[in-house]
Symmetry: C2
Subunit: 212 residues, 2 copies
């Protein structure tokens, strides 16, 4: 099984290749990708070997081909189907961001316990009451649930998602959730990321000290 870190890096390369293609570039060297991804050329080449992708020593990798290889490997070609649970301020932002239709990530249904929200259509996405979760996800082959409920609701909601057969959860709630080993959880905790950045921003050697 490929490691989480490798998959993370592949999604990063995918996003960098999109950036490069937008500038009109057709080829890229591993050292260029490494530079953009703050990695090493050797690491990039090792990661891309997972895809059986090898660059030409003179011209590098063909960007379009490499994008396709990553898409195929990560099964993005057919798009990623998600549901959103929790239509608070963060949930609304996720809808506004992903419902533009420009992404390969689709939110096919949203859920919120607030009767003011259930039944409405927000940013083009229908919001259902949580009781309709099972019925709405049936047959939709949902790949991932975006969990954006308050911390106090997160575990209860995750239990429902597991019962409904959702194979993976991106957890935006500021708490950890427990799921069976058959379900994958990716935590995306904004508070924790800010705390980490603030800590290292304070403790990195500063420009004036580096000049000494």
């Amino acid at each position: 099984m490929v490691s989480e870190k490798t998959v993370s890096r592949l999604t990063t390369y995918r996003s960098l290749l999109r950036q490069l293609a937008a500038t009109g570039a057709t080829h890229v060297f591993s050292h260029q990708l490494a530079d953009m991804a703050r990695s090493t050329a050797a690491q990039v080449r090792r990661d891309l070997m997972v895809l059986n992708a090898y660059g030409n020593p003179r011209t590098g990798y063909l960007i379009e081909e490499l994008q396709q290889s990553i898409d195929d490997y990560l099964s993005f070609s057919k798009g990623i189907t998600t549901i959103l649970v929790g239509v608070g301020s963060l949930g609304r932002a996720l809808l506004a961001y992903f419902m533009t239709g420009r992404s390969h990530i689709r939110i096919v249904a949203a859920f919120d316990a607030d009767p003011q929200k259930a039944g409405r259509t927000i940013s083009g996405c229908r919001v259902y009451p949580p009781e309709e979760l099972f019925q709405q996800v049936a047959g939709k082959n949902v790949h991932c649930a975006l969990l954006a409920v308050p911390g106090s609701e997160a575990q209860k909601t995750a239990d429902q998602l597991v019962k409904a057969g959702i194979p993976s959860i991106v957890n935006f709630a500021p708490v950890r959730i427990k799921v069976p080993p058959t379900v994958f959880v990716e935590d995306l905790d904004v508070t924790s990321s800010i705390e980490k950045a603030a800590f290292f921003g304070r403790h990195l050697p500063k420009a004036q000290e580096m000049k000494k």
Copy 2:
């Protein structure tokens, strides 16, 4: 210098201790924290040694004391001062989330190039035009900038933040940014996290197969 992973785990323990304290608990064992953080008791004890915090073998760690130790170590006690750049849908969600006053993270100013937004107050936070960045951050001791501009604007904006002396950036834009080694960047790429979750959700052994 303590590692990024250790700091990430300390922020996680901090959030878990907050959860535990809210339930009325006063003590916690390393194996309990490990269980909640999906780690091992040995790892938790190793991390907490960085703080010179040692649990009592019979009663575990005192939650309140441990919270204070982490806060002191990560310098959270006095709060974290941030600015927000980019008041689109994600930026608005960040304002709505952090301007409640319940967090130790404060957003002291927001910036947006859209003249419709600059000059307004959104969720209690004043929005300024980007030209006022230097003036507004002067003397405010900003620890961190939240970068929520479109990908095409990210690098240009990051350059301005660096010039303004901001020591760390949480980058929500779906592109990598380059900064001098004196500035810390934490990437928080929602698309990449969803892609990763969807991949592993597809490839983890499923319940029916595990029973075989």
